[in-house]
């Protein structure tokens, strides 16, 4: 199993999770479409280790992260109480996406375990692995909002 296989699994996982938890349609965009650049963003991260070692990041602009949080918890934007609530929501969403992928990986013989989620937030940052990795970045559009999902796998 390689990074391209994981990318294909993510193309199914993200829409499934968004549809079930948020009643939102997340549409994968063509690979050659220009990727958005976010200013203030929230990035959820869940790693996996076993037959494959890697990590999946889910990048959203802060505004979309707040919208996602409100949808998940049935709250209006005013009712969202601080960054922690948003961080937790994005972390859990990432957890569900990677869990979905991990289940399919295990069924195909690539057993692994997941890490607990972590979240990074800020502006104008990118995350770069220290050692060489195979990487794919997927772009989704969801109700005029943009979402990037990056998968990194140790070769």
């Amino acid at each position: 199993m390689a990074v391209n296989d994981l990318a294909e699994l993510l193309k199914c996982a993200v829409p499934e999770v968004f549809s079930t938890m948020l009643s939102m349609e997340a549409s994968p965009q063509p690979a050659d479409a220009p990727k958005p650049v976010f200013d203030a963003q929230v990035a959820g991260a869940v790693g996996f280790t076993g037959k494959l070692d890697g990590v999946v990041y889910l990048f959203t602009p802060v505004s979309f992260a707040r919208l996602i949080t409100g949808r998940l918890l049935g709250l209006s934007d005013n009712e969202i109480d601080g960054d922690d609530m948003v961080n937790d929501a994005i972390g859990e969403l990432t957890n569900m996406v990677v869990g979905h992928v991990k289940s399919r990986m295990c069924d195909r013989g690539a057993a692994c375990v997941m890490t607990i989620p972590s979240v990074v937030r800020g502006s104008h940052f990118s995350i770069t692995p220290v050692s060489p990795t195979d990487s794919r970045t997927l772009h989704f559009v969801c109700q005029d909002q943009h979402l990037l999902v990056q998968v990194l796998v140790k070769p």
């Binding site: 998940l72 918890l73 922690d84 859990e92 957890n95 869990g99 399919r104 990986m105 607990i116």
Partner: protein, 389 residues
């Protein structure tokens, strides 16, 4: 009191989603963010059901589940596992852990409610509480078993109750219609019916709104643990093993239907609360008395009663469970400042003098005498002397 649901998940998001799912039901939602907290809350609150995340820091779901199952006070609490991982291997691992059910994330709130509703009865918030039935009220029990001898056994074993037992030998459309149109109060279904018919019946019953809360017990030979585990994981109310212990069966039916048994053991006479210990004081009877003791005593005190008589004149002898019950009564009376006395036969009195725990118990010959003794002053009369010779 509502159903207590404990959610153990490191994600506050999930805990909030679960709380919201049950907002319209009469529930009390408890939360913990890891297995260590979860165990502490479970020990303190004794929830009716636990929703347990698989992957958590500090202590994960698997470890917490292991500790729950090895704790005699907590092991019977049903657990539903929440997991983001639905792979075959993971599902098999979870099934073997003794959980009642599992829910894969992502999930719709309705699914959580439906799965929990299969295990515990969920009442809408604000719904009128149904009139509580007594143990001596008529009930309709349906036996689904292809062995006629079991029906005979049931009728004989429950002959001392006013309960009616009807039967069916197989699960078919006609039976389902019969149950739907005229639901019995409880179903006993043999797990050895061919083609997993009992499980099929269970699922059909649970999927019909009119019968979704109907208690269904699986009947199974004691050694057939595989089918029993499967039935429990499916959500059967409980298992009744063959050969049938009828005291145990009556206790299970009493619990499943929340039958009021207090009238068998507690009675108010004028300004006295009388506890009547039955002739055959089984562990079931002792447990029922103990379970209702505090509430009955508090209600009596609230109604102005300040005297208690524990009548142990019916049993032929005193045993450890009866002594423990008596000690519990004494402690409670001291706590609530109730004047108390025991009623017992001569042999019982003589036996009690021989035990350190009971030698100071005061006895009267009858309830009338006991009431007279309690009503006369601030202290009860000195202990009876044993008859010489």
């Amino acid at each position: 009191m509502g159903v207590k649901i404990l959610t153990v998940d490191d994600s506050k998001t999930i805990r909030l989603i679960v709380a919201r799912a049950f907002k319209t039901f009469d529930t009390e939602i408890l939360e913990a963010s890891n297995g260590v907290e979860g165990l502490a809350v479970a020990s303190r609150e004794k929830p009716d059901i636990i929703l347990l995340d698989f992957t958590m820091p500090v202590m994960d779901g698997m470890e917490m589940l292991g500790k729950l199952k090895s704790n005699t006070d907590l092991k019977s609490i049903p657990v539903v596992m929440l997991t983001a991982e639905a792979g075959r291997e993971n599902v098999t691992k979870i099934a073997k852990m003794g959980v009642r059910d599992y829910i894969v994330k992502p999930f719709k709130e309705e699914l959580v409610v439906e799965r929990v509703g299969r295990i515990v009865e969920l009442m809408p918030r604000g719904a009128t509480v149904a009139k509580i039935r007594r143990y001596d009220d008529p009930l309709n029990l349906l036996l689904v078993d292809d062995k006629p001898a079991i029906l005979e056994q049931l009728r004989t074993g429950l002959a001392d109750t006013p309960w009616t037992i009807t039967s069916a030998e197989q699960v078919n459309l006609s039976l389902i219609e019969r149950i739907t149109q005229n639901p019995p109060d409880l179903i006993l279904a043999s797990l050895s019916l061919p083609s997993d018919a009992a499980c099929t019946l269970f699922q059909k019953i649970r999927n019909t709104i009119k019968t979704q809360s109907l208690p269904i017990f699986g009947l199974s030979v004691k050694t057939e643990t595989d089918e029993q585990v499967r039935a429990q994981q499916l959500g059967f109310t409980g298992i009744v093993t063959k050969p049938i212990d009828f005291n145990d069966l009556k206790a299970k039916i009493t619990r499943a239907l929340n039958l009021d048994t207090t009238y068998k053991y507690f009675e108010r006479q004028a300004n006295v609360l009388v506890i009547k210990v039955p002739t055959v004081c089984t562990s079931v009877a002792t447990n029922e008395i103990a379970a209702n003791l505090r509430l009955q005593a508090k209600e009596a005190v609230d109604a102005g009663i300040d005297k208690l008589v524990m009548d142990i004149s019916r049993p032929k002898s005193v045993d450890v469970t009866m002594i423990e019950l008596g000690l519990r009564v004494v402690r409670l009376c001291q706590e609530l400042s109730l004047k108390y006395i025991f009623v017992g036969s001569e042999p019982i009195c003589r036996e009690c003098i021989n035990f350190a725990e009971t030698k100071d118990w005061r006895f009267a010959n009858s309830i009338e005498e006991a009431v007279g003794q309690l009503g006369g002053g601030t202290r009860v009369s000195p202990p009876k002397e044993p008859v010489a010779g």
